[in-house]
Point group: C2
Chain length 216, copies 2
């Protein structure tokens, strides 16, 4: 029976890990302990193989077919459009991509922006597109960590970063001046997997979709 084929799912470390774990449990696909997920990068179960990777790496695993499915934040998909199908909004891991500036900064709405705005971000593609759509010249400084430090040391005028509670921004003396978009976790699929192993992949997708609806 083709529906008994193993389906592989890439799930992200970090803030979405608990939500992904909950979804796999509720769906009856795999009960994984937090301990197991902290120690291993690969967990095999009867019907699914779970690959635990960095959030930014989920699209690569799915696009190249090392995973049939992937759970990943919409924010990552903005940056990495790739060649997967985006199937389901899983409705967890909600957060916003915002433009934040130091509390003392004169910058507020677009009318206060300087001729050339300097912005630090982990989301160069998304930030660039957003400013471009507003006719604002921008110099993007691409960083990989602790973006909130950049305005404090005079590297940039502001940052474009993800925030859920806003706590990290507040702790670093930053305030939100614009919202670029809202993100939640999404289920994505490898295009070939969905076409050639339709029954087994669709069966896993249905279970995850159902579990997600129950949670929401």
């Amino acid at each position: 029976m083709t529906t008994q084929e193993t389906v592989s799912i890439a799930i992200p470390t970090g803030v979405l890990l608990d939500g992904a774990r909950g979804l796999l449990a509720t769906s009856g696909l795999a009960a994984l302990s937090a301990e197991e997920l902290g120690r291993q990068l690969l967990v095999e179960r009867e019907r699914v193989r779970v690959i635990i990777v960095r959030p930014t790496d989920v699209p690569a695993y799915v696009d190249y077919g090392a995973a049939d499915l992937g759970i990943v934040g919409k924010d990552i998909l903005w940056e990495t459009p790739g060649s997967h199908y985006e199937l389901v909004d899983l409705h967890f891991g909600g957060c916003r991509l915002v433009l934040a500036v130091p509390n003392a900064s004169a910058l507020d709405g677009p009318q206060t922006w300087p001729p050339l705005m300097r912005v630090a971000t982990k989301y160069p593609r998304t930030a660039n597109a957003w400013f471009e759509a507003r006719g604002q010249a921008v110099e993007i400084v691409r960083l990989h960590g602790s973006v909130e430090l950049a305005p404090q040391v005079g590297l940039v005028d502001g940052i474009v970063d993800l925030t859920a509670s806003g706590r990290t921004l507040r702790e670093n003396g930053l305030r939100v001046t614009a919202v670029l978009g809202s993100s939640t976790a999404r289920l994505i699929a490898n295009q070939a997997s969905l076409k050639t192993r339709t029954a087994s992949v669709q069966s896993v997708v249905s279970r995850l979709r159902e579990a997600s609806n129950h949670a929401g």
Copy 2:
């Protein structure tokens, strides 16, 4: 006196942090506790301001002038050529960038490579240039973490990654088949800082260079 101006130095978290801390202490510029560096992103001392950032972010802080100087692995400079001066080989943090394949793989020397080689790496630019110079077609899968997992799940034929002791490779059933280059920590400088605040920046550079020679 211009030599009393504060000079800012970006140093990297991770494997080079201890070496950078040792160098700042030996040079007499700043005695920083490991605890302090773990908690803070910014430490101010009489003559220097130390900014603690991700290894990959050091060039951005220096190139854009948020730091006058930076301590960073040569491997990062291969990927981010940027617009800084590379001043001193600090002779610590030695490691190699290697091509590694699963122990069971038939891949070994270039004569065994497939027509199109698929490689996962955090160093897409360096890996690409290396294979291109050898006339080898390569598909680079850019990952941000746990690159050693990629061959295990069939994502790629091999990986290009940094290794010091080789332990992580061995633990993941991988063996080295080629060395792309050797890396150590380097001292880099912002070009404008060196030109306009020559005395104070050069004084810090001299101290670090001397401390590095003593250590080596």
